[in-house]
Amino acid sequence: MQSRAFTLSFGLTALSVALSASPCLAEADFTKQIRPLLQRKCWKCHGPEKAKSGFRLDSRAAALKGGDDGVAIISGNSADSPLIHLVEDEDMPPKGAPLTKQEIVLLRSWIDHGAPWGTVAKPNPPAGAVKPPQAEEATQRENAPTLPAGELVDLVLPPASGENVEFARDIHPLIQRKCAKCHGPENPKSRFRLDNRASALKGGAEGVAIIPGDSQNSPLIHLVADQEMPPEGEPLTQEEVTLLRAWIDQGAKWGGVSDTPDFAFSLAPTRQWFSVDGNEQKFREHSWMREGWTGGVGQLTLESWLDPDTRVTAEGSAHGPANLDLTLALNRQEVGFVRGGVEQFRRYYNNYGGHFDPFAISDFKLDQELHLDTGCFWTEVGLRRTGWPEITLGYEYRFREGMKSTLHWGQSTQGGETRKIYPAYKRIKEDVHILRANVKYDWAGLLLENNFMAEFLDLETQRYEVSPASGGAVPDTFTTIEDSHEAFQFSNTFSLQKEIKDWGLLSGGYYYSHLDADAAFRQSTMNGMGALVVGQHWFAQPIIHDWSAHIFNLSTRLGPWEGLTFSGGVQNNWERQNSVGSSTLFFGLPNAMMAIPPFFVSRVSSSKQKVTTTEHATLRYDRIPHTVLFAEAEFEQGRIDYFERDPGALQGFLRDTESRSRDQDYRAGFTLSPWSRVSLNAHYRYRQQEDDYDHLRNEAGGGANVGFPGFILGRDLETREFRTRLNVRPTPWLRVFLTYQMQATDYRTETDAVTFGLPSDTVGGDHLAGEFDSRIYSLNVVATPWQRVALNGTFSFHDSQTRTANNGDPAVEDYEGEIYSILFGGSYQLDDKTDISAHYTFSQGDFSQGNTAEGLPLGIEYRQHGLQAGIATQIGDNLRAQLQYQLQHYGEPSSGGVNDYTAHGVFLNCALNWK
């Protein structure tokens, strides 16, 4: 058997070689043999999408014209045609399998017979006189050898159909099927659109394509008959070309189908009402909305075509007192755009602090409604014209204003025990002005991009914290801490990207940024009435920061190997910061000029220089059937030199540290799908971060430092992670998704010895400072068992433990617990216009702690339920109404029930559409 196969193979090869050497070859069929060959082997680089070396092989004119390296095809003379030498020497194609001997024989035959393109013929016959296919082939054979080299040939255009053509019935579906992919309203190729009559008649970058009443001279007809268009997929059939000709000859009317609508508008007013029984602030914090009546616009959409090239759009929503999102845009093809918008939302905060069960007053509450508004206003203008650089200029104003809770709780002393549970909050006023200028240009395949940004930041914060309180409901003294920070930062990123081959991409970039900032600090101690009292009154002004950074980056993606892709890069990061400030640490009563020694005036300063180098590599292999394998590795080496000094503080302080870090991160896994209904992916990750600190100087009060921060000599973090997902679709109406994830991290710390002669003295050295373990299991089921029913359910379980080296101190308890979550929803379609839906969510977490006697339990135990049920119906053509009921219940035993609430709500939405 083997012997017969060898003989046959040898015989075919010998025959091929003999044929290739023969001066008299049978003529190749362009449509059946040459065109598919060119399409398969050449068009990727020399086709409609690309013209490497300026050479195209998708039309006869271009093929005979040649490229940057001269003529490639000499019609009638394959022996001297450079194209033949290139394919015989296997220089072309540069990637993939070379041409076979038989393919080269065909190509030579085609060139020797004049390189005919399509159906070659003499001048067009009169419409209606269609030759039978056999006759056409005969004509082709007859004429091909006689064609002079390099001469363009006309095609036999299929005749125009004699029928009355209806655009909606005959042409529009054809355009949708064959042309819209590239010639629709978004980024039309060659700037030629076929989605409306005006644009279609206007033509594109190559000129007019349709001449109403004259299909014979309409370039579109020649392109489709020549099979140059569409460049991919099935060419138009002869019947389709005849219809297209008839449509053009009959005036290229656009009847029966509307162009893109001139104007469309939808508005969805909403109204909702929530009633809360319990902690209203906690409800607001969880749901990001306020109880009571609120209303607004759920969705606003407006679209208007001013002309076929100009479109105005508006999209947005507005709800409640401070939630707004609106974007306006004006786009014009081949010119650019102007866009702008506003966004704002309000975040609410609970005004309770901590909870300590044994206290008579176990929970304290601020008499404040805490909320923070965050928003921005932005506008940008862009230039978008084919062949020109893309330029975008923008301005953005961002702000945050309001009050938020903090976790810096004040103390309460009751029965001789002190616990920090009194709530604290902060006022914030932040204004940011940002200017942006981005330029992007594709210069002969080299993509150049430059992004410039200048930012002005003005930030003021005021923290309110409680100083010793007697245990009553009202604090005795306040400490206010005011911070201000004004900064100007500019940054510029320049990047370039070049596709060096089809399989290779090279990119690089340089980032530079500089920041100058002025800051100020003031701490005051006041009584409950707001008057200054004896206590800490510290201030620092000015504090000056000077920061700059340089980042260099080089990345590549390579894939010359079948199925194997490599991407990787290296990045170097250099940062430097110098900070200096004058501080005054005053204890007493400033108004009375009463100072209680010690009184310090100090000049705090720090400087930091950081250099890191990061290397990254990823391999991806997808040639194993149904499988994608990947492996990633990232390494980082860093060095930070920092110097910190505070000579006037209570203990004085000076630190000069040289720190070195090494980070390695590995990940490998696969995605596998043996059947179309099953997929499985998994990966394992190992990461190690090591830091060593060499304290060259670590001094306090003129001697060796006895405290923080120079006590850590080294740190080592090891993380191991495993994740897997299984996706199964046993039937078309059921999908099951299972995930499992585990992570384990060890934190090791190496510290100094402590030799004060106290019981707490330690020998120092390396130890396991902490461990973190976590597992997450999730199950998701999506089912549509009947056509009118859709069900979706998710269950997840998460347990985690954090253990630290608390050395048996009962004040610190391990932080461990579980979280269960359930999401279940379903909808049922009553009829074509109406559907009902219901969703239920449940979440329960238990991280409660039992260290009440010796500490402050900070773990949380909670349970929350949510229910939504509603009906939506279509009323007429333009109105859709939705009515929904919501229930939310939250219980938190770990806070003594003060955070519990139950909320009922009704939501009404009406969506109106006009076109």
Binding site: K181, H183, N187, P188, A264, W288, L302, E303, R347, G354, T374, T406, L407, H408, L459, D483, S495, E499, G509, L515, A517, H545, N553, R557, G569, S579, V604, T614, H626, E644, D646, R655, S673, P674, V706, F708, F711, R725, N727, F737, T739, Y747, T749, D752, A753, G770, D773, S778, H798, T804, N806, N807, D809, V812, Y815, L823, G845, L856, G859, I860
Partner: protein, 277 residues
């Protein structure tokens, strides 16, 4: 730090015990499925269920690349390029439609409009992301969370699904700067300080769980455990907790390091090296 070899081996062994069952299951599954796939080699596609768009069919990423060229060029290096929906044809590379849904209607219309997008845009709504990231969906329902389900944020504000945005985590090396995703909103915490908390150099996620947490302020833990993971000193006499060469046992009775009103300037301080203010 150089640990003795036996200590490292012991640590590895402790972890491996937990990994034994999953590793065995995966190995067994891999062996069986590899045997099956080799015996029935055909399509190279790897599937997930793409978002549903009524009447739309999968067209393949090559078709998407004809218009969305800049995204397509780098996409093969991104994490998401490893997944595909049910393929329309053998060997068709279909990653784009795993998240955006079948593209045939979008292609036929030559793009989308505000009213007829004809494609799923996870940048507008994160539902498409949650089809695979089920666990993350649950995290956004925890008591403290970023407002993604409330539609005040979306996933792409922080993540780059295509893996080429230089300022977002999935972008990998491309000039990505630590904490930059967080800093675009949280300038107050990420600003410059005279005395900087070194944890900031390792990233915000050292202490915060960005999607959602049971703890206030998205903290990964409450109590002193959060800080002790890095700051615990080698223990001395039992029952005494030494941090920074100072006995903190009495302080920690009152609360944790930050909430007990001491180290309140946790992100950094302009006036005090111990972050007292």
């Amino acid at each position: 730090m150089n640990l003795p070899l036996f200590k490292r081996a012991a640590l590895q062994f402790r972890f491996r015990k937990e990994l034994v069952l999953p590793a065995l299951a995966v190995t067994l599954g891999l062996t069986l499925t590899t045997h099956l796939v080799i015996s029935c080699a055909g399509s190279r596609t790897v599937v997930v269920a793409p978002p549903s768009i009524r009447g739309a069919k999968v067209v393949g990423s090559k078709t998407c690349a004809t218009c969305h060229e800049s995204i397509s060029k780098k996409f093969s290096g991104s994490v998401h390029s490893r997944i595909h929906p049910v393929a329309g044809a053998e060997g068709v590379n279909t990653s784009c439609e795993s998240c955006h849904g079948g593209g045939s209607l979008h292609v036929e219309a030559g793009g989308g409009t505000a009213f007829h997008r004809l494609i799923v845009n996870p940048g507008k709504s994160s539902e498409a992301c949650f089809k695979c990231h089920v666990g993350v969906h649950s995290e956004f329902r925890l008591p403290s969370h970023h407002p993604v389900l409330e539609k005040k944020m979306n996933c792409v504000e922080c993540h780059d699904p295509h893996g080429h945005d230089i300022k977002k985590p999935a972008g990998g090396l491309g000039l990505a700067r630590l904490n930059q995703s967080c800093a675009q909103c949280h300038r107050e915490q990420t600003r410059n300080f005279v005395f900087e908390h070194e944890a900031m150099r390792e990233g915000c996620t050292t202490c915060h769980q960005p999607h959602g947490s049971v703890n206030d302020k998205l903290l990964v833990q409450r109590g002193a455990n959060l800080c002790l993971k890095c700051h615990a000193q080698v223990p001395g006499a039992s029952g005494r907790l030494v941090i920074g060469k100072a006995d903190h046992s009495l302080f920690l009775r009152q609360g944790n390091c930050s909430t007990s009103g001491c180290h309140t300037a946790v992100h950094g301080s302009n006036i005090h090296p111990k972050f007292l203010y």
